[in-house]
Symmetry: C2
């Protein structure tokens, strides 16, 4: 099944203990699309400026990603400058230049209207809601957000959350969203008024999915009580954490879209694939690693994740 | 098989967001013993003062723990005062009164000499080495330590580490011990010069075992590359984190001692039992929860851990 993703396509300038790069291709929708492209058809909606080259776009199209929804306008592309020198687990934003993103108004090409799944990457919840409304027939909607929208745009965000099949956020965001320091209580609180399922990403410690009795159409028993935790793989070099969460989302949602039905078993495997794609993303700067993978390599690491976490 | 444990038997005064308790039974050897007692025979070596009552001792003996190695001397028992009000994941030590522990010199009763396994809880590495030397015939030795010994008593500690089958420490301790911020690289560095296997505890995110080609007598293949990660269970109330790590160690080592052989499969199940016992420990203040469990309850939670983390 096809996935439509809306979010940022951008340039990133990043410094980590392993080096620095300037104006490399980035953005949540880019990482998500590349990651999901190993599993299913992906269509992207976003906006870029005149500095976005044919070669930049080819990074996406080479992976079979449909970029007809990528609007090219006058001006410069969104540019994020960040540092991981102080803390490899949390980006310090040095500069955010929204540029063409400031006036972004998502338009959905007619060719995208039959998309099966929708991913609302981390952007203004007003835009997320806008796209959601334009895609009334999608089978499943997942979304991401961040502290800024939780803190300063709560009312708008709440309208998006209530329509999500799954929300993917990290520990800090979940605690902030719920106003609750205990993760399980926070998860219960978020699910009570928002998404059917909540996935909380723990960085190097993996991710946990919290289910509700609305999570699955045909299988309700037992899932309210037991969350599901996917591991992450200990890596001896985290070169650049940028895009790990979006790559997780792409692996998770891409795998789920490739399955005939979103059963609990498929959902759990999707969590593992999310972890797998996140673990690849951080091995090189920017999207470099996400461009060059093979499904064989991905499945080998999936087996590695299983070996890492399963009893015999 | 029987386990001999040497470590602190103490009183704790604790405050957490859930309340406060004064002078409750605690200490690493106490938590370890209670936890391991659900799996195998446990013998304890430690020292207590005149304030240690018959009822305190009965907490151990009721669980079948052999306390003949618990020395009673004049003075007060070790007393630790700590707070989790600032951070539930890390104790803030308010006061450490060593009391009778200051002059503790472990003596091993003749009846303990045939112990099969040895656990060196977090005490002065000089005492750990002393006990280790008195027990040359044990089949397996595991140990714990903490920042203070790593930082200020490194040479003594190194002598202990090199003789360990497994070292159990937390993330911060592993990074400090290796002088390395990446956990996998830290683990490799520690294993290169010390214990055969390293277990790093991640608190609410579980624990990871890092193996070496010395970890298992008869099965070497593949284990050098793939660590093993046991989950922790999301809990909606962490009442008191004190003793979680020692209870993990007791579940891990106790289960391993109950098995005919320390195979990789048994070792991995032991990691899960460690997580299970740690998850129980934090549900009530002090050792309360560890006193009242049943093996049935423990095995039910073991299944819960499996459901939480296993693909179908």
């Amino acid at each position: 099944m096809s996935i439509l993703v809306v979010g940022s396509v951008a340039f990133d300038s990043i410094e980590t203990p392993h080096g620095r790069v300037d104006h490399v291709l980035g953005g949540a929708a880019t990482f998500f699309s590349l990651s999901a492209s190993y599993f299913t058809d992906v269509r992207v909606i976003g906006v870029v400026g005149e500095d976005f080259s044919a070669e930049n776009e080819a990074v996406l199209t080479r992976r079979g990603i449909d970029t007809r929804g990528l609007e090219h306008v006058a001006g410069k592309s969104f540019h994020w400058t960040g540092s991981y020198l102080k803390n490899l687990n949390e980006a310090q934003t040095l500069k955010t230049e929204l540029n063409v993103f400031e006036t972004f108004s998502p338009k959905i090409p007619a060719a995208y209207e039959d998309s099966d799944f929708l991913f609302l990457a981390n952007i203004d919840p007003v835009l997320q809601a806008n796209v959601r409304q334009q895609m009334p027939k999608v089978k499943m909607v997942c979304g991401d957000t961040m502290n800024y929208w939780i803190h300063d745009h709560r009312a708008n965000l709440d309208k998006v959350l209530i329509g999500l099949d799954a929300l993917l956020i990290n520990d800090g965001e979940a605690k902030m969203l719920a106003g609750e320091d205990n993760l399980l209580r926070a998860a219960k609180k978020i699910i009570a008024t928002g998404p059917k399922t909540l996935i909380i990403k723990h960085g190097e410690y993996g991710a946990t999915a919290f289910f509700s009795d609305r999570s699955f159409a045909n299988e309700k028993v037992g899932l309210t009580a037991v969350p599901f935790r996917a591991p992450a793989m200990p890596l001896d070099a985290v070169v650049d954490p940028t895009g790990a969460g979006d790559s997780f989302a792409g692996g998770f949602f891409g795998y789920l879209a490739s399955q005939p039905e979103a059963t609990p078993a498929a959902f759990k495997r999707a969590m593992f694939y999310g972890g797998v794609m996140g673990s690849f993303a951080v091995e090189k700067f920017g999207t470099e690693r996400m461009q060059e993978l093979s499904r064989k390599e991905i499945d080998a690491r999936f087996q590695h994740f299983r070996e890492l976490s399963h009893l015999e």
